[in-house]
Each structure stands twice: as structure tokens, then as C-alpha cells.
Symmetry: C2
Subunit: 190 residues, 2 copies
């Protein structure tokens, strides 16, 4: 997606530890016109598959999911990272390793909102090692729902998570896939 | 907002500890048509005030903010609850007491995304004791930006947070304000 790649080149900043800081437009401050187009793009790519629900994980995945769900006119559902008083005891749960935060955490989805009648599109803002997507895929499996694939705004291709999922037969679409990244150069996959 | 009140009456469930569970349509699974209308309503209520930025707090506030920002055609910004590797050291920060999670936590906003040139509308999904809004208001004050008011989808009026803010001269608009709540009865403020 040319618009997203241009934004990354113009406003993205690279820091030590493979950190790509894009929080001026994607995951802290949010460029709503860009995100609306990201949602439209995923809707276009997956609309033929009868999606009934968009699944993501809090927090920044919610923005991508909201605009994708809006365009496909289906509900969205976001996995929670804390089991608050508002969750029932009847949840799907799995472990996720976060490299950004340097820890393992559990995610939760109420069973009543996802079941074998659903056809699910998973979306997220970032894909690096693929741990968050693996967690969400595990929850879809637990629910018996059909998974049509995963849509991510930015894939750090050089970290291998996306290709690992593709090698397992999972459809993964990213709108900007970065194959290499240094302080001065970003190379997108063609 | 009649549509939201109808949803609460139909799908909301009341639990001990003043918990109103609305996660079938608002803050876990999300009814996108409803939330689009929530955003349109806040845009209508505040559009005369030259809003330049929508501010909220992760996670579920993001959905309300996204659709409000879309309608007002301005960026949104969400305060973070963890200081991850992606945040710089130059942040506004303040403490927030969460009754839902039973703890105090810090929230963070990058200074470069909010300053004295901004005119800010704060939005959130819920208002109970008003602690999250107080934290966001404090961050707006630190930035020197102008605050036009706060828009919340559901206000638990009987918990007093909204009226306390109003008594301080802050404009607070809620689309469904609950004045009393038991297992069998919900009374909305007229």
C-alpha cells in the first residue's frame, strides 16, 4: 500500500533492537484517513470469504480492526490482556510472548462471542515474530471458527514471523512488508 | 442517544459491585454501526469548537475515539498504560486509580503529539468515578492545550464522577447516563 509505505519512509524512525517507531501516525497518535484506507484495503482483500467477525488484540490493533469491521459491516472483537471483573469465567485463553514489552502474558476472549459458526479475519497493526497472531490463531482454533487469514498494516519481514505463518498455510497479507531496516534505509518487499 | 440506551436495556447485564457488563456490543465485542453513530453524535455536539485532536485512553476508549476522529476529520491520540520501548523519555504522565482493576497505574502521552496549539476533545467508553477522565484532563493541562470537553458513551451517573467534573466547569456529555441500576431495573437520566 503506497500511502502507508510513504508514511513509514517520511515519519518512521528506527531505534536499536529492531524498533520501528511509527507512533506519530499508527499506534499512539493515529492518522484517521490513513487507517480508514487500511481498513478499506483489508476489506477488499478478504471480502469474498464471508467474514462474520474481525478479531484483534488490544490496544493498537483495535484501530485497524474498527475500520476493517466498518467497511465489511461486521462486528469486531478484541482479545483482552487482563482478566478484569468484567470478564466471565468462560473464556478462551492462551499465552503470548511480547518482545516489545519483554514478557509473557495471557490473552482472553469470552466464549460467547466466538464459535464454530464464525468466519474470522484477524488483523493487527504490527507483525514481527508473529507471537500475537499465533495467540489469536490459537483462540480461533479453540472456538472452532473458520480462519480466512490475517491482515497486518506493517510486517517486519526480516523477523520471520509472517513467513513462518505462511509456511503453515495461513494467508497473511501485510500492507507494508519491511525486508531490511537500518538507521538510514528501509527496504520494502516487492 | 436512544439507540445506545436500547442496546443497554436489551444486552447489558448488572453484576455485584456496580458492574454493568456491556461487552457484547461496546468494549470487547463491538457493534460497529452503533459505535459509528456514537462517533457521529460526539462530532455533532462538539464540531463548533475547532477541535484539532481527539484524546482517549487505551484500550476500549480507542474505538469511541476512532469514529469521533473519523467524523471530525482530525487525528486521535490514545494515552498508554505502559511505558514500552516505543515511547521516548519526553512524555506527559499522571496517575490514574482504576476501580475496575483495583489498582493505581500511570498513563503516558508523548509530548510531541500534544501542545498549546491543540484544541482537545476527550472521549471514552465509560465514566464512573471519573478517574480516567481526570487523568486525561491533567495531561491536557500539562500540555497547555485547550480542552473543549469530554464525551462518554455510558455514564454511571450514580457514581458521581461526571457531576463532579461538571461542577468544576468542564463540559461532559454522555449518551446514556444511568442514575440507578439494579439487577432488574436501569433508570436513565432525562
Amino acid at each position: 500500500m503506497e500511502l502507508l509505505q510513504k508514511k513509514i519512509l517520511k515519519y518512521g524512525r528506527v531505534f536499536d533492537g529492531n524498533i520501528l517507531k511509527v507512533d506519530s501516525f499508527l499506534n499512539h497518535q493515529v492518522d484517521i484517513n490513513l487507517l480508514t484506507k487500511v481498513g478499506e484495503q483489508f476489506a477488499k482483500q478478504f471480502k469474498a470469504h464471508g467474514v462474520t467477525k474481525i478479531l484483534t488484540i488490544e490496544a493498537s490493533g483495535i484501530i485497524v480492526a474498527a475500520f476493517t469491521a466498518q467497511k465489511l459491516n461486521v462486528p469486531m472483537l478484541f482479545a483482552k490482556k487482563t482478566q478484569s471483573k468484567n470478564l466471565s469465567s468462560s473464556v478462551y485463553t492462551t499465552h503470548v510472548m511480547s518482545y516489545t514489552h519483554g514478557k509473557v502474558y495471557d490473552i482472553f476472549v469470552e466464549k460467547e462471542y466466538l464459535n464454530a459458526n464464525d468466519t474470522v479475519l484477524i488483523v493487527d497493526d504490527f507483525l514481527a515474530n508473529g507471537q500475537a497472531l499465533l495467540g489469536l490463531i490459537d483462540i480461533v482454533k479453540q472456538s472452532g471458527a473458520k480462519l480466512v487469514g490475517c491482515g497486518v498494516a506493517i510486517e517486519k519481514g526480516f523477523q520471520g514471523g509472517g513467513d513462518k505463518l505462511r509456511s503453515q498455510g495461513i494467508r497473511v497479507e501485510s500492507l507494508a512488508c519491511i525486508d531490511s531496516m537500518t538507521d538510514n534505509t528501509l527496504v520494502f518487499r516487492q
